[in-house]
């Protein structure tokens, strides 16, 4: 899965000398939380988040009148509050790499550049939808969580046993275990009775941590 397959193409952008009141309006209109910022030539020069704009707005408790406040806000430009050191990625970046960059830098979105041109944006929300898919959150089946030894061939033994019972694996995810010798696997299976599946897992010597029908 690459960024190209899940990014929003033609993202809503804003020009650097736009007043922040206008930027907030654009965000609300398009239901987005951040906007790539372009200069007059269409080059990416920054990114601005709703939070940057909210922190820049005067607190409602100031002694300014509503007219003075509106005047001040209309003079404050996006270029004054945006982040200029923008981290960008190319469209063929693996999605988990994009997710790692967002997590490590504590940012919620990455502009996607191809040959210096803005071609999309990928956000935490996009990654989140993918996580649901990975774990089959919207599919129904028997959900098992197992502890498996961190050894070559364990995954093959597990999936082969399910296939032999005629089971269909809807989703499968591997997590780090309690220590380096184990991994935790969550698997969602259709078309196998729970008892038969559990018995097969016990025969493999796997520890069953949780079972539920979802």
């Amino acid at each position: 899965m690459l960024v190209r397959e899940r990014m929003s193409t033609q993202p809503v952008t804003i020009v650097a000398d736009t007043p922040i009141t206008e930027a907030l309006r654009v965000m609300r209109q398009h239901h987005v939380r951040r906007l790539p910022v372009l200069d007059a030539e269409g080059q990416l020069v920054g990114i601005v988040s709703e939070k940057d704009l909210l922190y820049a707005s005067p607190s409602p408790a100031t002694s300014l009148s509503i007219y003075e406040m509106h005047y001040l806000l209309s003079r404050l430009k996006v270029s004054e509050v945006m982040t200029t050191a923008v981290i960008t990625i190319p469209p063929d970046t693996p999605l988990e790499e994009a997710a790692r960059i967002m997590a490590d830098h504590k940012i919620g979105g990455l502009p996607v550049l191809e040959e210096g041109r803005l071609v999309g944006i990928i956000t935490e929300t996009d990654v989140f939808e993918l996580l649901l898919e990975l774990l089959g959150a919207r599919l129904k089946g028997l959900r098992l969580t197992l502890e498996i030894p961190e050894r070559k061939g364990e995954m093959a033994r597990l999936t082969t046993a399910i296939a032999r019972l005629g089971g269909d694996i809807l989703a499968l995810g591997t997590f780090l275990g309690d220590d380096p010798t184990t991994a935790v696997v969550t698997v969602k299976v259709a078309d196998v009775p729970a008892e038969a599946l559990l018995a097969a897992m016990r025969d493999l010597g796997l520890e069953i941590l949780d079972v539920r029908e979802i």
């Binding site: 899965m1 790692r100 070559k152 999936t159 809807l170 499968l172 591997t174 539920r212």
Partner: protein
């Protein structure tokens, strides 16, 4: 994987009568984006986000700006179920309750880290993405062949494919050369979409 394994236990809370200013100070100091709101009896009465606080006057009580209709989960909710609730309701955190008491909080950020783990983003190996025919036993064939080559599967994730007849599988494998892995997968009838070392 259940919520209890990845939640933050004993989260920082704010009193419903505290001023917005105090809540914002806690949010900044503890580097969190949401605070569960409690009454005098430590009962959960709401949740307040950084954004709701930023839009309010500093001397107003938190209870005036908090969200009252709080969706909660328990420690034994499946993680993907918690993720589904957040996505469907467009919220980014869920208080975790045990017998009506607040025992933790689980956020989008916690789930984000799980995604990294699931696809082995912090481990090194050959990363292969392929279209796999949607037939029973295909995953078993795939993992069986990797084992036969002496490969160690670091991560494996299944995604929806291009249509209902196939699905997309991303797998990260150590201890097998990329070329050998690709040849075997093609022989099994998989369509290779992407190969890289990472």
């Amino acid at each position: 994987m259940l919520v209890v394994e990845r939640m933050t236990p004993n989260p920082v809370v704010i009193a419903a009568d505290a001023p917005v200013e105090q809540a914002l100070a806690i949010i900044e100091e503890r580097k969190v984006r949401h605070l569960p709101v409690v009454d005098e009896g430590e009962n959960l009465v709401g949740v307040v986000s950084e954004k709701e606080l930023l839009r309010a006057a500093p001397d107003v009580a938190v209870r005036q700006v908090m969200t009252r209709q709080v969706i909660t989960v328990t420690e034994y909710t499946a993680l993907e179920e918690a993720a589904r609730i957040m996505a469907d309701h467009k919220i980014s955190s869920l208080p975790v309750m045990r017998h009506g008491r607040l025992v933790g909080i689980i956020t989008e950020t916690d789930l984000f880290r799980i995604f990294l783990e699931l696809l082995g983003a912090r481990e090194h190996g050959v990363r292969l993405t392929m279209l796999v025919p949607e037939e029973k036993g295909m995953l078993a064939n795939l993992t069986g062949e990797i084992a036969r080559l002496g490969g160690n599967i670091l991560a494996l994730g299944t995604f929806l494919g291009e249509d209902p007849t196939n699905r997309l599988v991303t797998v990260k494998v150590a201890d097998v050369p990329a070329g050998k892995l690709v040849a075997i997968m093609e022989a099994l009838g998989m369509e290779i979409v992407d190969v890289r070392e990472g």
